[in-house]
């Protein structure tokens, strides 16, 4: 493994030295080829949970509303407007001039069909984390529809304006899930012309996309390919076989940056990193149940140094247990733990651990960051013994037995509302390693559509979480994007590259 870590950068350096600027590029044939390291095994957005599936889905289908990535405001899409009827009902006024890629006309029946389909457990939808709150749909008139929720869910509009996309009811009745997986039909800015699993997906500009819609496309054709190996991805980009790649490791991004014919951009994402400190004692009687120890760990971390060295300048330090743009992520009065190893040592002494202690440390990704954290903890006397697990095993261990310290990250499924993070980690679920009744109660009070009440209780909840040091929040994650310099592309924090908004220069 170590040889591989050394060999790949060496091979990359050789590639950069050998290569010439791209011989052919996508602009000449109006085709943008993007390569990613994973491929959705089912292009149907509700039957895959992969980021790439979500991205393709957002290009093929439309949601009822759309979120403006710059302002966070809701824009009209399939619906002209929406209003909350009560805590569990939202009414949408639909546009009357929209057709699906196959010519089928869009109306309330499509919305009702989609929502009822998602609510029916017999359909075994895989993307449950995005759909589980839906109870069904109700037709009011041909262009007016109501979405029913299973429980009060104030963040629902975030989902209805992004990941809850609408399917054509007549086509789906005929084609079924298998048909949608091979010949998908939507209303989105791109229509699918080729689905070859394991090889490529081809999307072409939808000339009949809704007039004045929020996702009006510019580039004529998108080709998606999966290549797992970073070296191969880079070779394809350099040779003109690809126009756009992402998640480029920082060292490779630096080498490529400034090279003729290419552009490298760094973009912050909604994913944040943190240490989960086992305050509830689920894993037994260990030092993490002591508040002073948890605070000491927070003071022991030089977040800024790790961030700059291993993540990149576009990343930012996180103080509250949420991503700053999320609704309800209020960190004004949240306790801030600056880097202060002396204070950390003093707190450990007060807690009776003057000579330090050994702690279990579980991680599943970003090993270099985990190792840097362990090194900093060692400086204040905490010897963290790392167990590095597969993601599934890591989650199972944390949820069933609890752990002393776990290194985690969370992308909130790109939902810009704190329910997507605090709801999972601090509201009493098996992921909640604090099980603090005060915090749970405050978050439960936030289950209302009264936005002012939500802001107030969430601010209190995050104050309490930081004061009790249930987590040691770290920083936001960033992605490096590398692409041909004739492409005009802007990354967004929700990890959804908007190719419909990209243009050739």
């Amino acid at each position: 493994m170590k040889i591989k870590h050394l060999a790949i950068p060496a091979a990359m350096a050789a590639a950069l030295a050998l290569s010439t600027p791209p011989a052919e590029a996508g602009k000449s044939d109006d085709t943008l080829t993007w390569i990613s390291n994973s491929e959705p095994d089912n292009i149907d957005i509700y039957y895959n949970t992969l980021r790439e599936g979500l991205i393709l889905g957002r290009h093929i289908w439309d949601a009822l509303m759309e979120i403006d990535p710059k302002t966070g405001e809701f824009q009209p899409s399939l619906a002209k407007s929406y209003k909350w009827i009560d805590d569990k009902t939202i009414e949408f006024d639909l546009r009357e001039d929209i057709v699906f890629h196959n010519g089928e006309k869009f109306d309330a029946d499509d919305v009702v069909f989609t929502l009822n389909y998602l609510a029916d457990p017999n359909n075994k939808v895989k993307a449950l984390s995005r759909t589980k709150f839906i109870a069904g749909g109700e037709k009011v008139s041909q262009y007016k529809v109501r979405a029913k929720l299973k429980y009060p869910f104030p963040a629902a509009m975030q989902y209805f304006a992004s990941v809850i996309v609408i399917y054509p009811n007549e086509y789906y009745a005929k084609a079924g899930p298998k048909g949608m997986a091979t010949k998908p039909v939507g209303t989105g800015p791109y229509k699918v012309t080729e689905v070859t699993y394991g090889k490529r997906f081809v999307l072409e500009k939808n000339e009949n996309y809704m007039k004045g819609g929020p996702k009006t496309p510019s580039i004529g054709k998108l080709v998606f390919r999966r290549i797992e190996e970073r070296g191969t991805q880079m070779a394809e980009l350099l040779s003109g076989g690809a126009d756009w790649i992402w998640r480029v490791p920082p060292d490779l991004a630096q080498r490529l940056d400034g090279r003729k014919g290419f552009q490298v951009t760094q973009g912050e994402t909604m994913r944040i990193g943190f240490l989960i400190l086992g305050a509830s004692g689920k894993a037994g009687d260990h030092p993490m149940t002591n508040l002073k120890v948890r605070r000491a760990i927070n003071y022991a971390l030089d977040r800024d140094k790790i961030r700059k060295t291993l993540m990149g300048e576009a990343s930012r330090i996180i103080h509250a247990a949420c991503f700053p743009t999320q609704f309800g992520c209020i960190d004004d009065n949240v306790k801030r733990y600056e880097y202060n190893p002396e204070k950390a040592k003093a707190l450990l002494k007060e807690a009776g651990f003057e000579k330090g202690f050994e702690a279990e440390f579980v991680a599943y990704r970003d090993r270099p960051i985990a190792e840097a954290i362990i090194g900093q903890l060692r400086r204040v006397g905490i010897t963290a013994k790392m167990t590095y697990l597969k993601a599934g095993a890591y989650r199972e261990l944390r949820r069933k037995k609890g752990v002393e310290i776990a290194f985690g990250t969370w992308g909130s499924s790109s939902i810009n509302d704190i329910t997507a993070i605090a709801g999972n980690w601090f509201q009493g679920s098996s992921d909640d390693n604090a099980q603090d009744k005060t915090v749970i109660d405050l978050l439960n009070q936030g289950n209302t559509t009264d936005q002012e009440v939500r802001k107030k209780v969430y601010a209190q909840a995050f104050e309490r979480i930081a004061d009790q040091a249930y987590w040691a929040p770290l920083f936001s994650w960033v992605y490096n994007y590398a692409y041909v310099d004739e492409l005009d592309f802007t990354p967004s924090a929700d990890e959804i590259p908007r190719f419909w908004a990209a243009k050739w220069k």
């Binding site: 895959n48 090889k199 394809e236």
Partner: protein
């Protein structure tokens, strides 16, 4: 002979069954399928719902028996991820792996046999040493690094060959070189040893005495005899390449069986893993069985075992 064949077939079926049970148990021990299906940001509650919906809350032995019951009727089930039948997936991927392994063996033999012959003609000379060094490098170089180097030189710098994918035969050239080069030392050494032995035999001396040209002696008389064990070895190498082409398939993004197995293991897609393992195990079982039967046919003394 019939009794011998029945015994061997029974053992082969037992091996296939054991492989399937071990594969199922190992996959179940290594992680939770429901967690993989639910995705990275799924809550514990989401995972429990998925577990119930997909019947993954049943006891393990019942899940296995369900799969086995369908399997013996020829229904290997559906992938937990791909919207396809497992048999369709394998049918789609197998030709790529067969092409890759076939070309890999051809490359290995095409390089190693001439080098073995040349080395045998000048044993312990610089020619012998150079041929051995070229061959041994194939095993010494890390496969993925060699693959990346080939890609950069022939795909990126010279732009002679495509870098990744499996659309045309040209896409298989670099992967086949990368895969075949690893097998070169074994084939080369066996050719060299065989040739050295044959070249010192009486009938070759007789051929020289008869005044036959060296080329004819080498390729018509010597190589034909020396190559018999090499052909047997190459078939074993072919088997190894079928099951062991994961790295090459991943680096060059060839959608083959090795890549499918690796991908399915990493996300616990057990119907696919089971089917691929059974397929590869069956390849080996058939090869070994054929070998046993051939040996037994040639040497009746072996039939008593």
């Amino acid at each position: 002979m019939l009794n011998f064949m029945t015994k061997r077939l029974f053992v082969a079926a037992l091996v296939a069954f054991t492989v399937s049970v071990i594969a199922f148990s190992l996959l179940r021990l290594s992680g939770d399928l429901a967690t993989m299906i639910a995705g990275e940001d799924a809550s514990a509650q989401d995972i429990e719902i998925i577990r119930e919906q997909y019947g993954l809350n049943k006891p393990y032995h019942l899940q296995y028996l369900d799969w086995l019951g369908d399997g013996v009727q020829g229904d290997l089930g559906e992938s937990m991820f791909y919207p396809e039948e497992v048999t369709a997936l394998i049918k789609d991927r197998l030709p790529n792996t067969l092409t890759l392994a076939g070309l890999g063996v051809l490359f290995a033999m095409g390089l190693a046999i001439p080098m073995g012959v040349i080395a045998a003609l000048r044993p312990d000379s610089w020619v012998d040493r150079t041929a051995l060094t070229i061959a041994v490098l194939g095993q010494a170089l890390p496969g993925f690094w060699f693959a990346l180097m080939l890609m950069f030189v022939f795909g990126l710098f010279l732009r002679w060959l495509p870098i990744s994918g499996n659309e045309t035969l040209a896409h298989f050239i670099l992967p086949a070189i990368s895969l075949g080069y690893y097998s070169t030392p074994a084939v080369m050494r066996l050719t060299r040893t065989g040739m050295l032995e044959v070249l010192n035999s009486d009938y070759i001396r007789t051929a020289h005495a008869k005044g036959l040209p060296t080329f004819v002696i080498l390729f018509k008389h010597a190589l034909r005899n020396a190559i018999i064990p090499v052909v047997a070895l190459s078939s074993v190498q072919f088997g190894n390449m079928l099951g062991g082409s994961v790295v090459t398939e991943t680096v060059f993004q060839i959608q083959g069986i090795g890549h499918l197995a690796w991908e399915s293991i990493s996300r616990n897609d057990f119907p696919v893993v089971q089917a691929v393992l059974l397929l590869v195990a069956c390849f080996y079982i058939v090869l070994v069985l054929l070998g046993d039967l051939l040996n037994a046919w040639l040497d009746p003394r072996l039939r008593v075992t």
